[in-house]
Structure formats: structure tokens, C-alpha cells
Subunit: 367 residues, 2 copies
């Protein structure tokens, strides 16, 4: 069994709390001989800024390049509201995504049956929901230049952000979406605003071309992003794979996640291209939820999304789908036994804190 | 009683069908002497393109400038999927918004008690919901330059869209939001992505400044647009007025509208600045729903959003709030009597078509 180089970046807020539970699972995997890791840990986000004035140090970036996979907690919080724009906590995460070229962000929005009642939506609309959002993560308005604020006359200012997409960026994310659809229910919805944005025109065109050339066995539907947001609320089960750009993906994946009632439950993977020589791809795994400053430090955070992210790493980066399955089964197990953190509690369940959920998970894993 | 100059632009798809019902209400208002109109009608969108090769003619634009208010149905449809970008149906609507400087788009998302069960959300989450989205409508990525697709080497293309906001644009829409909040529950949420976009940084800053200078009596909360989308699904009743930019407003207002279960019910107003000399402001009123090509021509469309848009025109453009009230009461009346179009039907209600709903409304108005 190979030793996996794993970099842990707990980050800010509840990021450190949920990462603490991942460490317990890593220790258990090591003890039982199921998986072996060379673990490093470093700072990102506000925590890094407080230490070195940067949202991620060059040292940490080097470690990120050297790692087989990265697990990240969450970044951000009101404490850093006034740091310079280039040093804000989010810039650390954005630099990781961009420099490592993690262009494919996979965000499953899965409704755990035991949690269907925690959704805002009626049970019948979300029960069995299983959407995979495939979000482009290294292009668009997040990284396009110019991105400036300029002083004009009379104290007026002008802010500019630029959405840029080149065909190859759209093509590669479309391929990821179609490939994944083939392993699922064979259906892709692509969302853009071609009626308003030129990048939407190009997006729709390239996705159609890739489809026509290589994936006619997969069904493809184009939706306008606004109408797609509506459809997510109206009838979410119509979706299998949803592919979209960086900014729309940010919003639509949050809507989809919230629908499931399982926000604290949802992991994500951000993947780079498969390298020709090694067959490896760079990868970062993180929960969909944020740093949640309102509950940080209280031991209330749900560690399941973070531990689910470790499972995704085992599956996508380390070829250990069996171990990933085992972790995911343990997650289902503790839910079935009625354990709930605050975010997913309902009548008749046993509410536990972050540590308590970790205890329950480890017991379930060992059983 | 003054004669109001009203321009009707039915547009495409169900736009013409719902506008036909507005004409019946206009005739009734005229007969009863409640309001008097000099009505003109013209084409916009695909209908205009089919006639003159443009999504709106210069003649129609002149009429739009001369009108006291414009009522617009909807634009777009698959028939025009392949017309040149500059001539697509939506370009007609966008030109009206931009040239008339209709910068303030008011989109009430109101849950009619009789329709709470038509929502995807659990009844208790949406019952009594009353959000007013204030969307900036003449700036941002919709109109910023450059907006281009360029050919690169090897058949590659690059698409660019540009989000531009100047302080004065943010200031004026913020003022509209704060003023409206004072007539409601005194609460404004402002949504942007200041953690990723420079326009978000400026947006947040200007909204805070306007608030601090003139509206400290109104409560103000900043939310990230992705997190705001989540909150709309999680706990929509926390919102009173929600102010945001053109693109986020497009998506968030569709989410909010869909929450209510009353999509076919929701009107909107797009307002310009109040002119110093005349006290007048340019205005366009349209349903939040689109041209719905799937049901167009079948007599199934719900005309209530369109007729509600006429009521908004009477209130905001013509100072006839009493007549607007009467129309809105009639809408509530037909719902209470159990009349429903297809989009809002539920068990035990009487399903009617577009004409049938018009009949019911006129009967209720006359009663
Ligand atoms: C933290 C922030 C920069 C980030 C984003 O906007 O991409 C987050 O919202 C996400 O979705 O991962
Ligand atoms: C038709 C389209 C251009 C328009 C928009 O994107 O603004 C529509 O979606 C809306 O919200 O009014």
C-alpha cells in the first residue's frame, strides 16, 4: 500500500474544528492499515494572514504542489474584513485553485433520506435527490483581467470585473461533465446566459460541439442560468449533472446544496487535468459549507462534509473506493442511528456536537 | 382626469395572450370612467425582428420615449435561436431598459395565501412571504464593454464580458431600496460578491456610505450573493427589501419568485429617475415570467402577472393607487373564489384558461 502525500489546510472558523475530526479518521485508517498517509499541515486564509501577512505562504504553496491531495477546511470571517483585497482569506483558496489549475469543481447535492425533512422543500420534491454540479473553477469573472477600482472625478469610482472564457476551458469542463454523466443517469444540463453574455454564447456553442462530436449518447439540455435557478427550486429531480461556469456555479451549487437540507453534509472535489505521464491529477477536497464564523469555536459544527471530502479523496485521488465506501456507509450509519449535529437536527433525534459526531463515526467505522 | 399615454408592447409567446386580457381591463377602466388612456401598440422582440429585422424599431423607440408608461408582455423563443446576436429578441428589451435609463427594477415576490400550497417550499416557510427585490437594471455585465468573441489561433475563441459599475449607479439604486424599505418593514439586505469581485467591493462600500449618511433608521445587512441564494431557500421570510446588481438580481429574483409558488402572478416595474422639472419618471411594467414558448398559443397562460403590472403602472406612474388597489383586490377575489390557471392549480380549484381568468377578473371588478 502506497503512502499518500496529504496536505491538510484547516483554514479559519469551523474549518479547524471539522479538520480535527478528519485527523481522528486518518489515525484510525493508519492503525487499521486501511490507508497510509504522509500528512503535512499548513495555514490558509485568515489564519495564514495573521501569521505571515499573506492568505497562503509560498512554503504552503510548495507543499500544495508536492501533495497528492489537499484537504481544505474553510476560509474567511469578519475578523479579516479590512485586510487589503489581495490578502483577504479567500485569495488563498483562489490562488490554490488557479495555480494548481483545479478547473473541475464537483459538487454533489445529495439528499440523505434520513434528512429529507430538514429541507425547506416538500419531502417528495427532494427525497432521493442526487445532482452533481460540475462547476468551472479556474476561469470566468473570478480571474479575468482587468479587475480594478479606479478613481474618477468628484470622488466617483469605477469598478471593473472581466469574465473571460476561451474555448478550451469550456471544452475540458464539458468533457468532465459528459464523462461523469455516463457513470450516472446520462443527462447533462448546461447553464449560461447566452441571451445577455458573449461568454454564454461561446459556452453554449462549445458544449454543443463537444456533445455532437463525442457524447451523443448523453442527453444534453441548455438552460438559461436564471431559469435553471428556478427549475432547481421547482423540480430539482429533473437534474442529473449540471455544468456551468465559475460564477453561476457558485450560486447554483449553493442553491442545490441548500435544497437537500444537508448543507453540513456535502463534500466537494476540485480536480486538475490528468497528467499524460503519471495518470495523476492534482486535487483539493473541501466541504461545500463555509467558515461559519457565527458558530465557530463552539464545538457545534457538523464534521460530516469534511470527512466526506476525505472519502472523495480516497476515491478520486488514491484509488481506494472501497475505503471511501466504508466511510460513507459509516456516515449513513450514524444518521440511521439518529445522531445529528445542530444544523440537521429534527424531532426525535440525538443532538451531538462536533466531537460527539466524531465519536459516533469512529464507533461506526470500528463496528 | 388626465389621459395617460400608454404604450403596449405584447412581444412574443404568451406575451400577446396576456396582453389581450390587459386590453379588456383597459376597456373596462375607460367605460367606467375610472381611468382614461391614449393607447398605442407596437412590436418588440422576435415579433419586431420578423417585421423589420430589428428587435425593436426606431419608431417603437420613439413611442417609448413619448409614453407615460410602457406595458411589456415578454420576449424570446426558440424561433429566433439563430438570429444575429445584436438582433435577438432580448436585445429589444435590453435597449428599452438602457436607452430609457430604467435603472430600478422592482420585483415583489409575494406569496398569495391561497397559493402557498403551490410553492415547492413548506407552507410555514412561505406563508405571508413579502420580499421586494430591487435590482439594478442598466449597468453591470449586461451592458459593460468590451463584450466580444474573438477568433484565436487553431480555431480557438475567446469570449469577454465586462462588469462595470460606477459609484453613482450604485448610490441611486441603494437610495431606491432604502426609500422603499421605509414604506415597508425597514430592512435592507444588499447582495454582492465582494470576496471575489471588485464591483462587489465598490457595491458594498457605496451601499454602506449611503446608509450611514442618510438611512441609519433602516437596518442594513450585507450578504454574499451565493449565501443570499441559500438564505432565500432556507428562510425567505428574513427578507424585506433585497438590493443587488443586474446579474445577481436576474437570478435571485427568479429564485424568490419561484419560492412563492406564484410565478405567473408576479408583476414588476422598471423605473427611471424622477425628473426635476416634471416630477415624472419613465417606467416600464412587465410580468416576471417569460415568453413561455412551451405553452404559447394554447390559451393556458396566466394573465394575472400582466394585469398586476397594469395595477403597478396605475400606482407608480399615474397616481391612481385607488384603482390599483381595486384591481389587486379583484385578483385576490378570483383566487378566493377558486379560479386557477394551470400554473397555480391545486386540488379542489376551478381550472380556467387565459380568457377564462380574464372573464373571472372582469366579473370580479364589476361586482
Ligand atoms: C470563498 C469563496 C471565494 C468561494 C467562491 O466564491 O468560489 C466559495 O463561495 C465557494 O463556493 O467555494
Ligand atoms: C429576457 C432577459 C434578457 C431578461 C434578463 O436577463 O434581464 C429576463 O431574464 C429578466 O429577468 O427580465
Amino acid at each position: 500500500m502506497a503512502t499518500h502525500k496529504l496536505l491538510l489546510l484547516p483554514g479559519d472558523g469551523i474549518g479547524t474544528e471539522v479538520m480535527a475530526q478528519v485527523k481522528r479518521v486518518l489515525a484510525w485508517l493508519e492503525e487499521t492499515g486501511l490507508a497510509s498517509f504522509a500528512v503535512e499541515e499548513d495555514l490558509v486564509g485568515g489564519a495564514a494572514y495573521d501569521q505571515c501577512g499573506l492568505p497562503i505562504s509560498e512554503e504552503a504553496m510548495k507543499r500544495a504542489f508536492a501533495a497528492d491531495a489537499i484537504l481544505l477546511g474553510a476560509v474567511g470571517g469578519p475578523k479579516w474584513a479590512n485586510v487589503p483585497y489581495e490578502a483577504r482569506p479567500e485569495a488563498g483558496l483562489l490562488r490554490l485553485r488557479k495555480d494548481l489549475q483545479l478547473f473541475a469543481n464537483l459538487r454533489p447535492a445529495l439528499c440523505y433520506p434520513a434528512l429529507a425533512d430538514a429541507s425547506s422543500l416538500k419531502r417528495e420534491l427532494v427525497e432521493g435527490l442526487d445532482i452533481l454540479i460540475v462547476r468551472e473553477l479556474t476561469g470566468g469573472v473570478y480571474f479575468g483581467e482587468p479587475k480594478t477600482i479606479t478613481d474618477l472625478a468628484d470622488g466617483q469610482k469605477r469598478a471593473i470585473d472581466t469574465q473571460v472564457y476561451e474555448s478550451y476551458e469550456i471544452e475540458r469542463i464539458a468533457r468532465v461533465a459528459f464523462e461523469l454523466a455516463r457513470t450516472r443517469r446520462n443527462k447533462v444540463v448546461s447553464a449560461e446566459k447566452h441571451n445577455v453574455m458573449k461568454s454564454g454564447v461561446l459556452w453554449k456553442q462549445v458544449v454543443s460541439e463537444v456533445h455532437g462530436a463525442d457524447y451523443t449518447d448523453v442527453s444534453l439540455e441548455h438552460q438559461l442560468a436564471d431559469s435553471c435557478a428556478m427549475q432547481l427550486v421547482r423540480a430539482p429531480k429533473q437534474f442529473d449533472v449540471l455544468v456551468t461556469d465559475n460564477l453561476f456555479g457558485d450560486i447554483l451549487s449553493d442553491v442545490a446544496a441548500m435544497l437537500t437540507g444537508s448543507l453540513g453534509m456535502l463534500p466537494s472535489a476540485s480536480l486538475g487535468a490528468v497528467e499524460e505521464l503519471t495518470g495523476k491529477r492534482r486535487a483539493l477536497y473541501e466541504p461545500v459549507h463555509g467558515a461559519a464564523p457565527d458558530i465557530a469555536g463552539k464545538g457545534l459544527a457538523n464534521p460530516i462534509a469534511m470527512i466526506g471530502s476525505l472519502a472523495m479523496a480516497l476515491r478520486y485521488s488514491f484509488g481506494q473506493g472501497d475505503v471511501a465506501d466504508r466511510i460513507e456507509k459509516a456516515i449513513a450509519g450514524v444518521l440511521a442511528k439518529g445522531y445529528r449535529t445542530n444544523d440537521i437536527k429534527s424531532e426525535g433525534t440525538t443532538v451531538v456536537g462536533t466531537d460527539g459526531m466524531g465519536d459516533a463515526l469512529l464507533a461506526e467505522l470500528a463496528a
